[in-house]
Symmetry: C2
Subunit: 215 residues, 2 copies
């Protein structure tokens, strides 16, 4: 069985999105700065169907995050706009256009049932209303021996962490202070979540810190 992995950009003060997230501003105020390190990279551009771009120490990190993934899980807030708008619209198919960069089945944890949506390029969005464990079971089956990639947002990562279901967490620590927004390490209860540092990689404008979640 593969691992459940997650990786997310985080401000130095612990936020994975700024305040006042909305359909127009899904990463919240200032949140787009969390991705300043990744957008110029060739590795990221290729995954999103573009050419060119930079190569630096982050390239390997981005490539590894895309390797050996057989399925994905994400929270409802990552798939659709917060506070209505797109999500209520049955035509909403995510932020990523007709050919999303996943190219594997993605299981979305939500309270709103909906038929699966098959996109171009190998991505199918499945909507799971039976909770995080069922979403993970279905993703594991779809992934076979490969890993499952857990997307955001903060809330769904917290839920998998608190439930002891996450195996590996990679943080892209960005030298930005957002001051407010969606805090990644929150609602984790009494401190039973224990981590072991696997590596720390320096790259321009970002530090990549990888942790194993201990049982």
């Amino acid at each position: 069985m593969g691992k459940l992995r997650s990786n997310i950009s985080i401000s130095l003060d612990g936020f994975v999105a700024g305040p006042n997230q909305s359909a127009e501003n899904p990463l919240g105020e200032g949140g787009e700065r969390l991705h300043d390190w990744v957008v110029p990279l060739g590795a990221w551009r290729r995954a999103h169907g573009m050419e060119g771009g930079e190569v630096n120490a982050s390239a390997r990190i981005v490539e590894e995050a895309l390797e050996n993934i057989g399925a994905g899980v994400m929270g409802r807030n990552m798939f659709g706009p917060v506070g209505g708008g797109g999500w209520g619209d049955e035509h909403w198919t995510g932020w990523w256009g007709d050919d999303p960069p996943f190219r594997y089945p993605v299981f979305i944890v939500t309270h709103h049932p909906r038929d699966p949506v098959q996109m171009q390029g190998g991505t199918t969005f499945h909507f799971v209303t039976d909770g995080i464990e069922v979403a993970l079971d279905r993703a594991r089956k779809a992934a076979g021996d490969k890993d499952v990639m857990l997307g955001g947002g903060a809330q769904v990562i917290q839920q998998y962490l608190a439930a002891g279901l996450l195996d590996e967490l990679e943080l892209h620590v960005v030298p930005v202070l957002l001051g407010d927004g969606a805090r990644l390490f929150d609602n984790l209860g009494d401190g039973h979540v224990r981590l072991e540092q696997l590596r720390a990689v320096e790259a321009p404008g970002v530090a990549h810190l990888t942790y194993r979640v201990l049982r």
Copy 2:
């Protein structure tokens, strides 16, 4: 003129001390885990008058943090117990014994006036009641061309950061989740504090992240 530098151990969820700090437990509940990476090091043991100890990638970091320092500034909470006890006692001379590891003048930001206390080995504690800028001015004069090291706690680092007086901040990021306690990046206002990543160093059980504070 030298720089104002600070370095502090911080949990992955952003705390530099656990909850319920007290005279008996100055780092709060679970807070002693923040120092698990440094206490076994030979570099740390030598600074505290002990022999032996380990050498790993953190040794250089600890040695650098001790180099070229001509004076120190610290907050009242780092010098004395929180909530009475030792501080009210005129005989209280800090947590560090008769021969503190600083070996330079240390200026303590406090509301309580007190005569300077000269310790063994070159450390003198000065108590400054005129605010953080005066404390820094006095430390700079004492340091000459050398740097000034800003100690904790969280509150005094926040004050210097918010005032635009800190030049360099090194975080020793420990794979621990404290859940509650003294949060380092708090009370910083409207996001005017801007940082540039200088380096990230991997070491056993800790990642050392260094930032320049931009004006």
